[in-house]
Symmetry: C2
Subunit: 118 residues, 2 copies
């Protein structure tokens, strides 16, 4: 999977007005679709949710494999997609990698989907 | 593509607390991922946007093919995915099908992504 083609959500938030306010340009639709695709996977949604629910919105990869019931390489792949898309950041401390939710990243997607004010 | 496996967004809104508030259960993650997948396509995002921007949030399929630069069968396929996922409704009038944005459907997804209050 070419996770390198997933653009950081920050670019998406900068690009677009909410979906229902203006007609979405082709290029902006591509960017938003890539960010949504990064989230549109059950394992990745659960990873975001697990990280967000952890103390300080940070979790060790060592605590993320068991709740998902997936192998560590599979979990690491999903985490990489989320990092590339700008939803998580990764820091290495000794043996383990730690993942933190990027503040505002989910809100950015959320804001693009919300309707124009009624 | 098995669009029949896409669950209406109404079910998703009923199932889940916002992503960052509680850890997402496996079954709920499947439902939310299916709804996000229905949206996570540039053509489908533009279709939702075009319909939402039309008078009364309703558009004739005859006005949707040209802006997208796609064939009518392709556009009809994408519209079906959006109808099956609960984002649009379809009504037939004479020769043409008309598509309407389901009120609150984008907001439902938006609400699930938004962070817990800070």
């Amino acid at each position: 999977m070419a996770s390198g083609t997933v653009l950081p959500i920050a670019d998406v938030a900068a690009c677009c007005a909410p979906l229902t306010r203006d007609t979405l340009a082709a290029e902006d639709a591509e960017k938003l679709a890539r960010s949504l695709k990064a989230l549109a996977d059950p394992a990745r949604l659960r990873l975001v949710s697990l990280v967000a629910a952890s103390d300080g919105a940070e979790a060790c990869v060592c605590d993320l494999t068991e709740p998902l019931g997936l192998s560590q390489p599979t979990v690491s792949h999903h985490l990489k997609v989320l990092v590339d898309a700008g939803f998580l950041t990764r820091s290495q401390r000794g043996t383990w990698a730690y993942y933190t939710l990027v503040p505002g990243s989910l809100d950015a997607v959320s804001r693009l989907l919300v309707s124009a004010r009624s």
